[in-house]
Symmetry: C2
Subunit: 322 residues, 2 copies
DNA sequence: CTGAAAGCGCTTACAG
DNA sequence: CTGAAAGCGCTTACAG
């Protein structure tokens, strides 16, 4: 049906090699021959079959983006910039939402081995380290996989300390920490560590909930926390969703924010409409995305890559701190 | 480097055809032979090169999803379900944000012709109809492309009328319409038509703004509208963003909602905080996504598809109506 | 049940 | 500058 390079060659009365050369714009083709070929291509409405091209080149020019769920502001934003950066390098992005299923996460590795994609950006919360990962062109966000997988992360420790310092300067006497414990080794753990260190420095007793919080139980957990620790007048929340929950729960329990309770959240970027913005440690999603793509492409090309890339956050004042 | 089917054949002492047969789980292979081959595959850590496989089969098993911008709740949700549905049929999803650039939109057509993807889901706001589209496996959302491109849409006309009826029943005496005019033929235009028809039926004078609203000018346009039409006590807004803007603008101009002004929005699904939810006509994104994927796969397989698929919306009460 | 061969649509040394 | 040929890694009639 579709015209192939052979058809074009025949039509133009030249060899297929020659056709290939003009398709790829190689200089070493005579002007007359080139013209004939171009005319044939037009006449036959030829367009190159890139499946064959890719096979020959042994590269798919596709990278996979693995996120827990695309339908979440952070990951959607990440996806946006990943795609933008990738396309600058001539790569396309295959989107995979793991939907919190481990097998969807590990599936990507298979797809790399099967040469369906050249590499992958990993945002995984479930998968374990695995030998299968070795040698795979993968770059991760926030997580270290032990092996030779580079990752980019934000300055979790410093940013957390800084945020807590801010609340202290603005009158907080007892500061709590609310987070959902990651299931796997992750830089996110640094937030807890920073909190505990800060409590020691300020000589405050830690009030912390950092267990694995099931989806749907956020409100219960947070309410319990508030009721249990009546002295708390400042909370550092590790994560966007929980900070929303805390805000709601505290308000409904009669706390005035920020007068009775200050809140700082890691990732608060998504308040769209000016209403009440949570003071937050903002991860520069765009920069993280671009970095991660550039690292991945280096990996694919077998170039050197730093094992760990840290991107600085910004502290953004909202209405939940004094 | 990587083991090929040839290596496996040699290792197992059989022909490549036989290896291919066991890879593809064909029955017509002797038990002993099969065992030998499987052993060889394991020993060599073989995994099939799907670039070659796809070329042979002449299908990529990839569909492209083209959205104006992935970093938007509606499209992110769409992407989520598109990916989910596609994967049920063994297809992967290539993500493309057009970023409001026409050439990124038309680029997809090239990619189909170049056999990089088997087909595409189109959510386009800019591209023109084009002969290049003919015969391409494409399914569109909300837009008709004239030719043989099927599309899915929601019941724009009925839902709009219904929403206006609701406001009238609840005391609205003068109803306005705010929307940004689509640049291209789109079912979205039905909302305006429904509004105008309704105004005629209720014998109300139309108060309407339906021009092309530039990004960034929403607030100005909306404020002008409010100031100009002081009698308006109900507004139907065609689109999520504008309804937020209207809410903010009206509030800041001293209107009480819903007492002084009722608002109904097409697409209001994204109010996260429970605080003030806009009454809205909710598009069942999940169903639209699944339908669009199923239609596309039929198209790819050259099966019959209906030209137009309409999905019913739900009217969801929020706090912006009486 | 199994192997040898042709072919999917390209690219790329190799000669000339 | 150009053509004939080999090859990328598979699948699939075709014989046997």
């Amino acid at each position: 049906m579709e015209a192939t390079i052979k058809d074009v060659a025949k039509y133009a009365g030249v060899g297929v090699g020659t056709v290939s050369r003009v398709i790829n714009n190689e200089k070493a083709v005579g002007a007359k021959t080139r013209a004939k070929v171009l005319e044939a291509m037009k006449a036959l409405n030829y367009s190159r079959n890139n499946m064959a091209f890719r096979l020959r080149k042994n590269e798919t020019r596709i990278i996979a983006l693995l996120v827990p769920i695309i339908n979440h502001p952070f990951f959607a934003k990440l996806a946006y910039y990943v795609e933008d950066e990738a396309s600058r390098f001539g790569y396309s992005v295959l989107l995979v939402s793991s939907q919190q299923k481990v097998d969807k996460e590990t599936e990507i590795i298979t797809r790399i081995k099967h040469r369906e994609v050249d590499g992958a950006v990993f945002v995984t919360h479930y998968m374990h380290e695995s030998d299968d990962l070795r040698g795979c062109p993968i770059v991760s966000i926030d997580r270290t996989f032990g092996g030779d997988i580079p990752y980019v992360t934000s300055d979790n420790y410093d940013a957390t300390k800084n945020a807590i310092g801010y609340m202290v300067e603005h009158g907080a006497k007892s500061i709590g920490f609310i987070g959902s414990k990651p299931l796997v080794a992750s830089e996110v753990l640094e937030r807890e560590r920073a909190y505990l260190d800060a409590m020691e420095e300020y000589d405050m007793p830690p009030r912390i909930v950092n267990e694995v919080i099931q989806h749907g139980e956020e409100t219960i957990v947070v309410q319990d926390f508030i009721k249990k620790h009546k002295d708390v007048d400042g909370v550092f929340v590790s994560g966007y969703t929980l900070s929303q929950v805390l805000y709601e729960a505290a308000t409904s329990l009669g706390k005035r924010i920020p007068d009775d309770l200050q809140i700082v959240s890691y990732d608060g970027i998504f308040s769209q409409w000016g209403s009440s913005n949570i003071t937050s440690v903002e991860q520069p999603v765009e920069e993280m995305a671009r970095q991660v793509v550039r690292l991945l492409i280096k990996k694919i090309r077998n170039e050197e890559t730093p094992a760990r890339t840290v991107i600085n956050t910004k502290f953004v004042l909202g209405t939940t701190t004094k």
